[in-house]
Symmetry: C2
Subunit: 337 residues, 2 copies
């Protein structure tokens, strides 16, 4: 049985959402969960759940907590007994096969890189986002915020890591990899994309060339590569638009009597629609290139999102993604010699 170390004090709704998510995951996914946090607080929360004693859940004590306001540097330097760091250490020491946190993203990335270390050959770990598409197949975007200033070599590594993730975890056969740009032709884009294009072309992947922002949701590509600044903007713009969409839809429907009745009749259809757009269904974002695996949940994660992040962590460890990344990057560096 795989064991996942969960930072129980991470997200905005911690430890309630974390503990409930862990209970659901341990009860249905066949994984063991180590709940890391202040023992008494976590235990009290866990006792709210009937039958938790029968589940593969253990509490691991950590006296400190990283807040959303802490800088990454401070979290790493001065909170050596934080729930985040202890959870990451459990992976490093082989007590767990994956680390999940919905806490301060910058602090998680710094902690995982430092404590767990990077996969040999990886220049910089990258945050991978999973997006729904029009055709129902998921698309991954790498990087969505770990590296704001990138060079072409980093984008090539993102392509390799994203392709392996798409193939092994999302089971896309021969994933189509695109470079996010602003025009389809090779020469379109900025200095970075023009430098990255020939590198991506030379990789042993199914590189389909430049793609545009519209293609993120079109389902015509499986992996989209970009720098972390652009990827993060794309992610956050999408979240904002979904929020606006929900609000305007409700307002439009509530403005007329027929609309109100229509809304009532179509309520279950609308909520299934919302579910398809809801990031919590997709679990957290893997930090690719870190030893042992690290899944970063959204700060606002509810119990369902936490459960799904634990599922993603287990699939990640089970999928041997890191070993394949290491082999492929080694092969590439040899080919480059």
């Amino acid at each position: 049985m795989l064991t996942i170390a969960l930072d129980a004090m991470g997200g905005d709704h911690a430890p309630k959402a974390e503990v409930e998510g862990a209970v659901r995951a341990a009860g249905s996914l066949g994984v063991k969960v180590l709940l890391v946090g202040q023992q008494d607080v976590v235990r009290r929360e866990l006792e709210q759940h009937e039958g938790y004693r029968e589940l593969p859940i253990e509490i691991v004590h950590a006296s400190q907590r990283v807040t959303m306001e802490d800088s990454a540097a401070k979290a790493v330097r001065s909170k050596r007994d934080s729930s985040m760091r202890v959870a990451s250490r459990l992976v490093r020491d082989g007590c767990a096969q994956g680390f999940v946190s919905a806490g301060n993203t910058g602090a998680i990335m710094a902690t995982a890189k430092m404590v767990q270390g990077v996969v040999p050959g990886v220049e910089r770990p990258a945050l991978l986002g999973v997006f729904p598409t029009m055709l129902g197949t998921p698309v991954v975007l790498v990087d969505v915020g770990a590296n704001v200033d990138c060079d072409a070599t980093m984008l090539a590594q993102f392509a390799v890591m994203g392709e392996i993730y798409s193939r092994n975890i999302l089971h896309r056969p021969n994933p189509r990899v695109g470079l996010l740009s602003i025009g389809e032709e090779e020469h379109k884009g900025n200095d970075l994309t023009r430098a990255a294009w020939p590198l991506l072309k030379s990789l042993h992947i199914n590189f389909v060339g430049n793609v545009e922002g519209r293609d993120v949701y079109a389902g015509n590509v499986d992996v989209i590569v970009c720098d972390g600044f652009t990827g993060n903007v794309a992610l956050k713009v999408s979240e904002g638009l979904v929020d606006m969409f929900k609000k305007l839809l409700r307002e439009s429907l509530e403005a007329t009597i027929s609309g109100k009745i229509g809304y009532a009749l179509s309520k279950s259809a609308l909520s299934s629609f919302r579910k398809r757009l809801d990031h919590s269904e997709y679990g957290g974002a893997p930090l690719l290139g870190v030893r042992g695996g690290c899944i970063i949940g959204h700060g606002s994660s509810n119990a369902n999102a936490i459960k799904n992040a634990i599922r993603v962590a287990a699939e990640f460890s089970g999928g041997n993604v890191n070993r394949q990344i290491e082999e492929e990057l080694l092969r590439l560096s040899k080919a480059g010699d």
Copy 2:
């Protein structure tokens, strides 16, 4: 009466959408429209519209047409009698006060810059996008694709131009100007945003600091400044997501009987919702910093979008935006000496 020169051969639905949009604009906005294109083709289209002889519309002949496939360089170099170029020339020569085209964006930008020239003090013209927000107020994003690689000074100029546009054309009092980044604190972001932050802070504008992708649709800021690569990705990602919304919503509603009835009942509410998301309601994107004004419509513009782009062009010329940009940039360059 203001006169607008319209490239009648520009968009995907040209000249039909262009001619119909011109007829609607001339009939309702109190502007005169010069329809520029192949005389016989445009005349034949115009004759489809009853009563066009009473409207302030004139046809100006141009023998060539720039296609979506032409490179900007080719369009400028070898198609000297294109409808695009002739329309731009009419503005330069004072025969019209604004130029509108829904054609090849790169070619329009190159043509307008070369033929009309830039406003004194402007380093690089920038494309401004208008987005709807949750609160109903519009937000402008500068740049959405004219300049893919920017430096901090360019972003400062975009801030000045966007602020003047927001105040004068969208009538936002004391517009709040934000810098698009990936974190609210000053030090968050990439090399470019960190260099631009102090420059924007030093301007005589209501600078609210960094904003994130989520803020584009939140309505808490009136002007958002970014490089053209990031802005274009934000725009295109939004378009793609709206398309996916429409499709998923229809599918979810059609999947059940009650959903189908609900859809039928709420149809008019849903179409008012679509209208609020529809870019054609907002008209085209102004290329700020070009003498005389240039409004670039979406390639897929329908007649309504063309009419709105003509409206934006007329408002732009009437609002003395260029004079204010020139004065403000002159003041800034003096202050910098």
